[in-house]
Protein backbone atom coordinates (compact mmCIF):
# COMPACT_ATOMS: atom_id res chain seq x y z
CA UNK A 1 0.00 0.00 0.00
CA UNK A 2 1.23 3.49 -0.78
CA UNK A 3 2.22 5.40 2.35
CA UNK A 4 3.08 8.53 0.39
CA UNK A 5 1.49 9.53 -2.84
CA UNK A 6 2.58 12.57 -4.83
CA UNK A 7 0.15 13.57 -7.57
CA UNK A 8 0.86 16.15 -10.25
CA UNK A 9 2.80 18.41 -7.88
CA UNK A 10 4.10 21.69 -9.30
CA UNK A 11 6.16 24.43 -7.64
CA UNK A 12 6.98 27.83 -9.08
CA UNK A 13 9.28 30.48 -7.70
CA UNK A 14 8.37 33.64 -9.55
CA UNK A 15 8.88 32.66 -13.17
CA UNK A 16 11.01 29.60 -12.42
CA UNK A 17 9.32 26.21 -12.59
CA UNK A 18 11.05 24.06 -9.97
CA UNK A 19 8.65 21.12 -10.09
CA UNK A 20 6.40 20.38 -13.02
CA UNK A 21 3.56 17.89 -12.66
CA UNK A 22 5.51 15.34 -10.61
CA UNK A 23 3.73 12.11 -9.63
CA UNK A 24 4.98 8.98 -7.85
CA UNK A 25 4.16 6.80 -4.87
CA UNK A 26 6.21 5.27 -2.08
CA UNK A 27 4.93 1.97 -0.67
CA UNK A 28 5.00 1.32 3.03
CA UNK A 29 8.18 -0.39 4.20
CA UNK A 30 10.17 0.31 1.02
CA UNK A 31 13.23 2.39 0.28
CA UNK A 32 12.63 4.78 -2.59
CA UNK A 33 15.51 6.72 -4.14
CA UNK A 34 15.09 10.05 -5.88
CA UNK A 35 17.91 10.78 -8.30
CA UNK A 36 18.62 13.35 -10.97
CA UNK A 37 21.04 16.11 -11.97
CA UNK A 38 21.72 19.07 -9.70
CA UNK A 39 18.86 21.49 -9.88
CA UNK A 40 16.38 18.83 -11.02
CA UNK A 41 14.10 19.65 -8.09
CA UNK A 42 14.81 16.81 -5.66
CA UNK A 43 15.39 18.96 -2.62
CA UNK A 44 12.47 21.18 -3.66
CA UNK A 45 10.27 18.11 -3.41
CA UNK A 46 11.68 17.36 0.06
CA UNK A 47 10.80 20.88 1.07
CA UNK A 48 7.27 20.45 -0.24
CA UNK A 49 6.92 17.19 1.71
CA UNK A 50 8.17 18.78 4.92
CA UNK A 51 5.87 21.74 4.20
CA UNK A 52 8.63 24.33 3.96
CA UNK A 53 7.55 25.17 0.40
CA UNK A 54 4.02 25.57 -0.84
CA UNK A 55 3.04 23.46 -3.81
CA UNK A 56 1.52 25.59 -6.58
CA UNK A 57 -0.50 22.69 -7.96
CA UNK A 58 -1.21 19.04 -7.19
CA UNK A 59 -1.85 16.91 -4.14
CA UNK A 60 0.22 14.94 -1.65
CA UNK A 61 -1.34 12.20 0.46
CA UNK A 62 0.46 10.71 3.43
CA UNK A 63 -1.17 7.74 5.14
CA UNK A 64 -4.54 8.73 3.72
CA UNK A 65 -4.30 12.35 4.89
CA UNK A 66 -3.99 15.45 2.75
CA UNK A 67 -0.43 16.43 3.64
CA UNK A 68 -0.68 19.87 2.06
CA UNK A 69 -3.22 20.87 4.74
CA UNK A 70 -0.87 19.99 7.59
CA UNK A 71 1.23 22.86 9.03
CA UNK A 72 5.00 22.28 9.02
CA UNK A 73 5.32 22.06 12.81
CA UNK A 74 2.89 19.13 12.83
CA UNK A 75 4.86 17.11 10.26
CA UNK A 76 6.88 15.38 12.98
CA UNK A 77 3.67 14.29 14.74
CA UNK A 78 2.58 12.50 11.58
CA UNK A 79 5.77 10.46 11.80
CA UNK A 80 7.84 12.19 9.13
CA UNK A 81 11.48 13.11 9.75
CA UNK A 82 14.21 14.41 7.47
CA UNK A 83 17.85 15.36 7.18
CA UNK A 84 19.20 18.39 5.36
CA UNK A 85 21.70 18.68 2.53
CA UNK A 86 23.47 21.57 4.24
CA UNK A 87 23.69 20.23 7.74
CA UNK A 88 21.38 21.68 10.34
CA UNK A 89 23.10 20.66 13.58
CA UNK A 90 24.07 22.70 16.66
CA UNK A 91 27.89 22.88 16.60
CA UNK A 92 28.28 23.77 20.29
CA UNK A 93 26.19 20.84 21.54
CA UNK A 94 27.59 17.34 21.88
CA UNK A 95 26.64 14.59 19.46
CA UNK A 96 24.35 13.04 22.06
CA UNK A 97 22.69 16.37 22.85
CA UNK A 98 22.09 16.99 19.15
CA UNK A 99 20.41 13.63 18.81
CA UNK A 100 18.35 14.31 21.93
CA UNK A 101 17.01 17.53 20.43
CA UNK A 102 15.29 15.17 17.99
CA UNK A 103 13.97 13.00 20.80
CA UNK A 104 12.55 16.04 22.58
CA UNK A 105 10.04 16.69 19.82
CA UNK A 106 8.62 13.25 20.42
CA UNK A 107 8.80 13.54 24.22
CA UNK A 108 5.59 12.63 25.98
CA UNK A 109 5.92 15.20 28.77
CA UNK A 110 3.91 18.32 27.97
CA UNK A 111 4.92 21.90 28.66
CA UNK A 112 3.15 22.17 32.02
CA UNK A 113 4.58 18.97 33.41
CA UNK A 114 8.01 19.87 32.07
CA UNK A 115 7.80 23.27 33.73
CA UNK A 116 6.86 21.64 37.03
CA UNK A 117 9.52 18.95 36.41
CA UNK A 118 7.03 16.12 36.88
CA UNK A 119 8.16 12.94 35.22
CA UNK A 120 11.00 14.77 33.47
CA UNK A 121 13.72 12.70 35.07
CA UNK A 122 12.43 9.38 33.81
CA UNK A 123 11.52 10.89 30.45
CA UNK A 124 15.03 12.28 30.04
CA UNK A 125 16.56 8.94 31.03
CA UNK A 126 14.40 7.23 28.46
CA UNK A 127 15.44 9.67 25.72
CA UNK A 128 19.08 9.41 26.68
CA UNK A 129 18.96 5.60 26.47
CA UNK A 130 17.11 5.72 23.16
CA UNK A 131 19.57 8.25 21.71
CA UNK A 132 22.52 6.11 22.78
CA UNK A 133 20.99 3.11 21.09
CA UNK A 134 20.53 5.02 17.85
CA UNK A 135 24.13 6.28 17.96
CA UNK A 136 25.27 2.71 18.38
CA UNK A 137 23.27 1.61 15.34
CA UNK A 138 25.09 4.21 13.24
CA UNK A 139 28.53 3.45 14.78
CA UNK A 140 28.66 6.88 16.37
CA UNK A 141 28.50 5.96 20.06
CA UNK A 142 32.21 6.61 20.64
CA UNK A 143 31.59 10.25 19.66
CA UNK A 144 28.58 10.78 21.95
CA UNK A 145 30.24 13.33 24.22
CA UNK A 146 32.19 15.24 21.55
CA UNK A 147 30.84 18.61 20.40
CA UNK A 148 29.59 18.48 16.81
CA UNK A 149 31.69 21.45 15.72
CA UNK A 150 34.87 20.31 13.97
CA UNK A 151 33.72 16.76 13.22
CA UNK A 152 34.18 15.64 9.60
CA UNK A 153 31.41 16.26 7.12
CA UNK A 154 30.52 12.61 6.57
CA UNK A 155 30.20 12.04 10.31
CA UNK A 156 27.92 15.05 10.67
CA UNK A 157 25.65 13.63 7.97
CA UNK A 158 25.28 10.44 10.02
CA UNK A 159 24.57 12.43 13.19
CA UNK A 160 21.74 14.13 11.34
CA UNK A 161 20.29 10.73 10.48
CA UNK A 162 20.54 9.76 14.14
CA UNK A 163 18.69 12.89 15.13
CA UNK A 164 15.94 12.21 12.60
CA UNK A 165 15.62 8.65 13.95
CA UNK A 166 15.27 9.96 17.49
CA UNK A 167 11.90 11.36 16.41
CA UNK A 168 10.74 7.73 16.09
CA UNK A 169 9.44 8.38 12.58
CA UNK A 170 7.54 6.05 10.24
CA UNK A 171 8.78 7.90 7.20
CA UNK A 172 12.39 9.03 6.91
CA UNK A 173 13.64 11.46 4.26
CA UNK A 174 17.40 11.52 3.72
CA UNK A 175 19.05 14.25 1.64
CA UNK A 176 22.41 13.03 0.27
CA UNK A 177 23.39 10.94 3.28
CA UNK A 178 26.45 9.46 1.53
CA UNK A 179 28.09 12.74 0.55
CA UNK A 180 31.64 12.94 1.84
CA UNK A 181 31.95 9.23 2.64
CA UNK A 182 34.40 6.71 1.21
CA UNK A 183 33.09 3.64 -0.61
CA UNK A 184 33.44 1.35 2.37
CA UNK A 185 31.76 3.93 4.61
CA UNK A 186 28.97 4.21 2.05
CA UNK A 187 28.53 0.44 2.13
CA UNK A 188 28.29 0.53 5.91
CA UNK A 189 25.81 3.38 5.81
CA UNK A 190 23.70 1.59 3.20
CA UNK A 191 23.62 -1.53 5.35
CA UNK A 192 22.71 0.55 8.39
CA UNK A 193 19.83 2.26 6.56
CA UNK A 194 18.50 -1.13 5.44
CA UNK A 195 18.68 -2.69 8.89
CA UNK A 196 17.11 0.37 10.49
CA UNK A 197 14.32 0.18 7.96
CA UNK A 198 13.70 -3.46 8.89
CA UNK A 199 13.96 -3.07 12.66
CA UNK A 200 11.95 0.12 12.99
CA UNK A 201 9.55 -0.76 10.15
CA UNK A 202 10.37 2.48 8.39
CA UNK A 203 9.65 3.79 4.93
CA UNK A 204 12.58 5.70 3.43
CA UNK A 205 12.77 8.35 0.73
CA UNK A 206 16.33 9.07 -0.28
CA UNK A 207 18.01 11.72 -2.42
CA UNK A 208 21.45 10.51 -3.37
CA UNK A 209 24.13 10.85 -6.04
CA UNK A 210 26.08 7.82 -4.90
CA UNK A 211 24.83 5.28 -7.43
CA UNK A 212 26.36 2.22 -5.80
CA UNK A 213 24.32 2.90 -2.69
CA UNK A 214 21.15 3.75 -4.59
CA UNK A 215 21.36 0.54 -6.61
CA UNK A 216 22.21 -1.54 -3.57
CA UNK A 217 19.53 -0.51 -1.10
CA UNK A 218 16.55 0.90 -2.94
CA UNK A 219 13.45 -1.01 -3.96
CA UNK A 220 12.31 1.68 -6.30
CA UNK A 221 14.02 4.59 -8.08
CA UNK A 222 12.44 7.82 -9.34
CA UNK A 223 14.56 9.85 -11.77
CA UNK A 224 13.98 13.56 -12.19
CA UNK A 225 15.25 16.16 -14.63
CA UNK A 226 14.15 19.80 -14.97
CA UNK A 227 11.44 19.34 -12.33
CA UNK A 228 9.82 16.41 -14.15
CA UNK A 229 9.93 12.66 -13.74
CA UNK A 230 11.86 11.02 -16.57
CA UNK A 231 11.88 7.45 -15.27
CA UNK A 232 10.42 5.38 -12.45
CA UNK A 233 11.06 1.72 -11.64
CA UNK A 234 13.25 -0.89 -9.96
CA UNK A 235 17.01 -0.11 -9.84
CA UNK A 236 18.06 -2.68 -12.43
CA UNK A 237 15.69 -1.17 -14.99
CA UNK A 238 16.69 2.41 -14.19
CA UNK A 239 20.41 1.69 -14.52
CA UNK A 240 19.88 0.63 -18.15
CA UNK A 241 17.37 3.27 -19.14
CA UNK A 242 18.94 5.29 -21.98
CA UNK A 243 17.20 8.52 -20.95
CA UNK A 244 18.62 8.20 -17.45
CA UNK A 245 22.11 7.44 -18.73
CA UNK A 246 21.99 10.46 -20.99
CA UNK A 247 20.66 12.93 -18.43
CA UNK A 248 22.28 11.69 -15.30
CA UNK A 249 24.51 8.65 -15.11
CA UNK A 250 26.87 9.26 -17.98
CA UNK A 251 29.54 6.76 -19.00
CA UNK A 252 30.37 5.34 -15.59
CA UNK A 253 27.02 3.66 -14.97
Amino acid sequence: MALLSVEDVGVRFGGVVALDGLSFTVDEGTICALIGPNGAGKTTLFNVLSRLYQATTGAVTFDGQNLLAVPSHRIAELGMARTFQNLALFPALTVLENVMTGAHSSGKVGFTRAALRIGVGSEERRMRAQSHEILQRLSLDHLADRPCGGLPYGTLKRIEIARALALSPRFLMLDEPAAGLTHSEVDELGAAIKSIRDDFSLTVLLVEHHMAMVMQISDHVVVMDFGRKIADGPPEVIRNDPAVIKAYLGASA
Partner: protein
Protein backbone atom coordinates in the same frame (compact mmCIF):
# COMPACT_ATOMS: atom_id res chain seq x y z
CA UNK B 1 0.10 73.34 4.39
CA UNK B 2 2.84 75.77 5.30
CA UNK B 3 3.13 74.18 8.72
CA UNK B 4 3.22 70.74 7.18
CA UNK B 5 5.95 71.77 4.75
CA UNK B 6 8.06 73.41 7.40
CA UNK B 7 7.83 70.26 9.53
CA UNK B 8 8.69 68.21 6.45
CA UNK B 9 11.83 70.28 5.85
CA UNK B 10 12.85 70.02 9.50
CA UNK B 11 12.22 66.29 9.36
CA UNK B 12 14.30 65.85 6.22
CA UNK B 13 17.11 67.94 7.69
CA UNK B 14 17.21 65.77 10.82
CA UNK B 15 16.63 62.61 8.83
CA UNK B 16 19.73 63.24 6.75
CA UNK B 17 21.82 63.16 9.92
CA UNK B 18 20.18 59.96 11.15
CA UNK B 19 20.79 58.48 7.72
CA UNK B 20 24.51 59.37 7.91
CA UNK B 21 24.95 57.75 11.30
CA UNK B 22 22.80 54.79 10.23
CA UNK B 23 25.09 54.38 7.18
CA UNK B 24 28.05 54.15 9.54
CA UNK B 25 26.20 51.55 11.63
CA UNK B 26 25.36 49.55 8.51
CA UNK B 27 28.94 49.76 7.27
CA UNK B 28 30.24 48.14 10.44
CA UNK B 29 27.39 45.67 10.72
CA UNK B 30 27.82 44.45 7.15
CA UNK B 31 31.53 43.80 7.48
CA UNK B 32 31.74 42.54 11.04
CA UNK B 33 28.21 41.68 12.16
CA UNK B 34 28.66 44.05 15.08
CA UNK B 35 26.09 46.59 16.26
CA UNK B 36 28.33 49.46 17.26
CA UNK B 37 26.65 51.10 20.23
CA UNK B 38 29.63 53.45 20.52
CA UNK B 39 29.04 54.95 17.06
CA UNK B 40 27.34 58.04 18.49
CA UNK B 41 30.05 58.69 21.05
CA UNK B 42 32.78 58.17 18.47
CA UNK B 43 31.01 60.88 16.43
CA UNK B 44 30.80 63.04 19.55
CA UNK B 45 34.52 62.81 20.12
CA UNK B 46 35.19 63.64 16.47
CA UNK B 47 32.89 66.64 16.74
CA UNK B 48 34.87 67.90 19.72
CA UNK B 49 38.01 67.61 17.58
CA UNK B 50 36.28 69.64 14.85
CA UNK B 51 35.26 72.21 17.43
CA UNK B 52 38.82 72.41 18.79
CA UNK B 53 40.13 73.24 15.32
CA UNK B 54 37.48 75.94 14.75
CA UNK B 55 38.19 77.28 18.22
CA UNK B 56 41.74 77.87 17.05
CA UNK B 57 40.38 79.84 14.13
CA UNK B 58 40.40 77.21 11.42
CA UNK B 59 37.66 77.51 8.77
CA UNK B 60 34.88 75.05 9.65
CA UNK B 61 34.95 73.09 6.39
CA UNK B 62 38.68 72.49 6.69
CA UNK B 63 38.19 71.55 10.36
CA UNK B 64 35.59 68.94 9.38
CA UNK B 65 37.87 67.42 6.75
CA UNK B 66 40.81 67.25 9.14
CA UNK B 67 38.63 65.79 11.86
CA UNK B 68 37.33 63.15 9.45
CA UNK B 69 40.89 62.16 8.61
CA UNK B 70 41.83 61.89 12.28
CA UNK B 71 38.65 59.93 13.01
CA UNK B 72 39.43 57.58 10.15
CA UNK B 73 42.73 56.68 11.76
CA UNK B 74 41.11 56.55 15.20
CA UNK B 75 38.44 54.15 13.93
CA UNK B 76 41.11 51.87 12.47
CA UNK B 77 42.99 51.85 15.75
CA UNK B 78 39.79 51.05 17.69
CA UNK B 79 39.15 48.06 15.42
CA UNK B 80 42.67 46.76 15.74
CA UNK B 81 43.09 47.31 19.48
CA UNK B 82 39.63 46.86 20.98
CA UNK B 83 37.53 44.88 18.52
CA UNK B 84 39.98 42.42 16.97
CA UNK B 85 40.73 40.60 20.25
CA UNK B 86 37.01 39.86 20.76
CA UNK B 87 36.21 39.32 17.08
CA UNK B 88 35.34 35.65 17.50
CA UNK B 89 33.78 36.02 20.95
CA UNK B 90 30.05 35.70 21.55
CA UNK B 91 27.76 38.51 20.33
CA UNK B 92 27.04 39.40 23.94
CA UNK B 93 30.74 40.00 24.63
CA UNK B 94 30.99 42.29 21.63
CA UNK B 95 27.89 44.22 22.63
CA UNK B 96 29.40 44.73 26.10
CA UNK B 97 32.66 45.92 24.52
CA UNK B 98 30.89 48.53 22.38
CA UNK B 99 28.77 49.62 25.36
CA UNK B 100 32.00 49.96 27.35
CA UNK B 101 33.42 52.05 24.52
CA UNK B 102 30.28 54.18 24.64
CA UNK B 103 30.92 55.07 28.31
CA UNK B 104 34.68 55.33 27.97
CA UNK B 105 34.67 57.61 24.93
CA UNK B 106 32.02 59.84 26.48
CA UNK B 107 34.03 60.15 29.70
CA UNK B 108 37.21 60.75 27.78
CA UNK B 109 35.51 63.57 25.84
CA UNK B 110 34.39 65.15 29.11
CA UNK B 111 37.86 64.77 30.57
CA UNK B 112 39.64 66.33 27.63
CA UNK B 113 37.15 68.95 26.48
CA UNK B 114 35.18 69.67 29.66
CA UNK B 115 31.42 69.58 30.18
CA UNK B 116 30.74 73.21 29.28
CA UNK B 117 28.66 74.22 26.27
CA UNK B 118 30.65 74.74 23.10
CA UNK B 119 29.46 76.53 19.98
CA UNK B 120 30.28 74.81 16.71
CA UNK B 121 29.69 77.01 13.65
CA UNK B 122 27.59 75.59 10.83
CA UNK B 123 29.40 74.81 7.59
CA UNK B 124 26.40 76.11 5.67
CA UNK B 125 25.41 79.73 4.97
CA UNK B 126 22.42 81.07 6.89
CA UNK B 127 20.30 81.94 3.83
CA UNK B 128 16.60 81.30 3.96
CA UNK B 129 14.38 80.78 0.97
CA UNK B 130 10.62 81.17 0.85
CA UNK B 131 8.98 78.18 -0.74
CA UNK B 132 5.23 77.65 -0.88
CA UNK B 133 4.62 79.92 2.06
CA UNK B 134 7.25 78.46 4.32
CA UNK B 135 10.98 78.89 4.77
CA UNK B 136 13.57 76.47 3.52
CA UNK B 137 17.00 77.04 5.00
CA UNK B 138 20.31 76.70 3.19
CA UNK B 139 21.18 74.42 6.07
CA UNK B 140 18.55 71.85 5.01
CA UNK B 141 19.59 72.06 1.35
CA UNK B 142 23.23 71.70 2.38
CA UNK B 143 22.48 68.68 4.55
CA UNK B 144 20.66 66.91 1.73
CA UNK B 145 23.51 67.73 -0.66
CA UNK B 146 26.10 66.35 1.74
CA UNK B 147 24.13 63.12 2.17
CA UNK B 148 23.75 62.80 -1.60
CA UNK B 149 27.50 63.23 -2.12
CA UNK B 150 28.19 60.79 0.71
CA UNK B 151 25.96 58.15 -0.89
CA UNK B 152 27.52 58.70 -4.29
CA UNK B 153 31.06 58.39 -2.95
CA UNK B 154 30.18 55.23 -1.02
CA UNK B 155 28.43 53.77 -4.05
CA UNK B 156 31.42 54.36 -6.31
CA UNK B 157 33.81 53.09 -3.67
CA UNK B 158 31.91 49.85 -3.08
CA UNK B 159 30.60 49.08 -6.53
CA UNK B 160 33.28 50.47 -8.81
CA UNK B 161 36.65 49.96 -7.15
CA UNK B 162 38.78 46.91 -6.53
CA UNK B 163 39.00 47.79 -2.86
CA UNK B 164 35.22 48.02 -2.63
CA UNK B 165 34.91 44.58 -4.18
CA UNK B 166 37.37 43.18 -1.65
CA UNK B 167 35.39 44.88 1.06
CA UNK B 168 32.15 43.25 -0.04
CA UNK B 169 33.93 39.92 -0.32
CA UNK B 170 35.06 40.13 3.31
CA UNK B 171 31.51 41.07 4.35
CA UNK B 172 30.18 38.00 2.54
CA UNK B 173 32.74 35.34 3.45
CA UNK B 174 35.85 36.09 5.49
CA UNK B 175 37.45 32.69 5.00
CA UNK B 176 37.12 32.70 1.22
CA UNK B 177 38.38 36.26 0.98
CA UNK B 178 41.56 35.27 2.77
CA UNK B 179 41.92 32.34 0.39
CA UNK B 180 41.92 34.70 -2.60
CA UNK B 181 44.60 36.81 -0.93
CA UNK B 182 42.58 39.64 0.60
CA UNK B 183 43.97 41.01 3.84
CA UNK B 184 40.67 40.74 5.71
CA UNK B 185 42.07 42.35 8.86
CA UNK B 186 43.02 45.47 6.93
CA UNK B 187 39.57 45.59 5.34
CA UNK B 188 37.89 45.45 8.74
CA UNK B 189 40.14 48.28 9.97
CA UNK B 190 39.24 50.35 6.92
CA UNK B 191 35.55 49.67 7.58
CA UNK B 192 35.77 51.02 11.11
CA UNK B 193 37.86 53.92 9.88
CA UNK B 194 35.26 54.87 7.30
CA UNK B 195 32.44 54.52 9.82
CA UNK B 196 34.30 56.82 12.21
CA UNK B 197 34.88 59.38 9.45
CA UNK B 198 31.18 59.28 8.50
CA UNK B 199 30.38 59.83 12.16
CA UNK B 200 32.65 62.88 12.26
CA UNK B 201 30.82 64.30 9.28
CA UNK B 202 27.39 63.57 10.79
CA UNK B 203 28.39 65.15 14.10
CA UNK B 204 29.53 68.34 12.39
CA UNK B 205 26.19 68.43 10.56
CA UNK B 206 23.91 67.89 13.52
CA UNK B 207 25.55 69.83 16.33
CA UNK B 208 25.07 73.29 14.74
CA UNK B 209 21.31 72.56 14.69
CA UNK B 210 21.40 71.95 18.43
CA UNK B 211 21.68 74.69 21.09
CA UNK B 212 25.30 73.73 21.83
CA UNK B 213 27.89 70.95 21.74
CA UNK B 214 27.64 69.08 25.06
CA UNK B 215 28.68 65.54 26.06
CA UNK B 216 25.11 64.28 25.51
CA UNK B 217 24.80 65.79 22.02
CA UNK B 218 24.89 62.51 20.12
CA UNK B 219 22.86 60.28 22.41
CA UNK B 220 19.39 60.87 21.06
CA UNK B 221 20.88 60.97 17.55
CA UNK B 222 22.24 57.45 18.10
CA UNK B 223 18.86 56.12 19.20
CA UNK B 224 17.15 57.70 16.20
CA UNK B 225 19.83 56.33 13.89
CA UNK B 226 19.42 52.86 15.33
CA UNK B 227 15.72 53.18 14.60
CA UNK B 228 16.60 54.23 11.04
CA UNK B 229 18.97 51.29 10.54
CA UNK B 230 16.49 48.83 12.07
CA UNK B 231 13.74 50.19 9.83
CA UNK B 232 15.83 49.94 6.68
CA UNK B 233 17.53 46.70 7.61
CA UNK B 234 20.94 46.60 9.26
CA UNK B 235 22.61 45.18 6.18
CA UNK B 236 21.22 47.65 3.65
CA UNK B 237 22.89 51.03 2.90
CA UNK B 238 19.84 52.07 0.87
CA UNK B 239 17.67 51.06 3.82
CA UNK B 240 19.77 53.26 6.12
CA UNK B 241 19.17 56.31 3.95
CA UNK B 242 15.44 55.71 3.50
CA UNK B 243 15.10 54.70 7.15
CA UNK B 244 16.87 57.87 8.28
CA UNK B 245 14.59 60.11 6.26
CA UNK B 246 11.46 58.26 7.40
CA UNK B 247 12.48 58.44 11.04
CA UNK B 248 13.37 62.15 10.74
CA UNK B 249 10.09 63.08 9.09
CA UNK B 250 7.98 60.81 11.31
CA UNK B 251 9.61 62.29 14.40
CA UNK B 252 8.95 65.86 13.28
CA UNK B 253 5.37 65.16 12.19
CA UNK B 254 4.24 63.27 15.26
CA UNK B 255 5.61 65.94 17.54
CA UNK B 256 3.74 68.57 15.58
CA UNK B 257 0.44 66.83 15.08
CA UNK B 258 -0.03 64.45 18.01
CA UNK B 259 -0.71 66.29 21.24
CA UNK B 260 1.28 65.25 24.23
CA UNK B 261 4.06 63.58 22.27
CA UNK B 262 6.08 66.79 22.16
CA UNK B 263 6.74 66.30 25.86
CA UNK B 264 8.12 62.79 25.50
CA UNK B 265 11.46 62.45 23.80
CA UNK B 266 12.37 59.49 21.59
CA UNK B 267 8.92 57.91 21.61
CA UNK B 268 8.85 57.70 17.83
CA UNK B 269 12.15 55.87 17.32
CA UNK B 270 11.41 53.40 20.09
CA UNK B 271 7.95 52.71 18.72
CA UNK B 272 9.45 52.25 15.23
CA UNK B 273 12.14 49.84 16.46
CA UNK B 274 9.48 47.86 18.29
CA UNK B 275 7.17 47.70 15.27
CA UNK B 276 9.96 46.69 12.91
CA UNK B 277 11.18 43.97 15.23
CA UNK B 278 7.63 42.67 15.61
CA UNK B 279 6.56 42.64 12.00
CA UNK B 280 9.62 42.73 9.79
CA UNK B 281 12.72 41.76 11.76
CA UNK B 282 14.98 42.09 8.71
CA UNK B 283 13.90 45.68 8.06
CA UNK B 284 12.29 47.08 4.93
CA UNK B 285 15.33 46.58 2.71
CA UNK B 286 17.08 43.90 4.72
CA UNK B 287 17.90 40.61 3.18
CA UNK B 288 15.76 37.65 4.09
CA UNK B 289 18.10 34.76 3.80
CA UNK B 290 16.90 32.56 0.95
CA UNK B 291 19.04 29.57 0.24
CA UNK B 292 18.93 27.59 -2.94
CA UNK B 293 18.39 23.94 -2.23
Amino acid sequence: MALFLSQLFIGIGNGVVYASVALALVLIFRTTGILNFAQGEMALFSTYITWKFTDHGMPVVLAIILSMAISFIGGMIIERVLIRPVESASPLTIVIVTLGMFLAINSLAQLIFGTGEKQLPSPFPSHRYHVLGTTLTAQTIGLVAVLAVECLVLYILFQRTKMGLAFRAVANNVESSRLVGINSGLMLMLGWGMAAALGALAGAMVVPTQPALVPSSMQSVLVLSFAAAALGGFDSPLGAVVGGLVVGVADAMTHQYIDGLDQIELVVPFALILLVLLFRPNGLFGKTVVERV
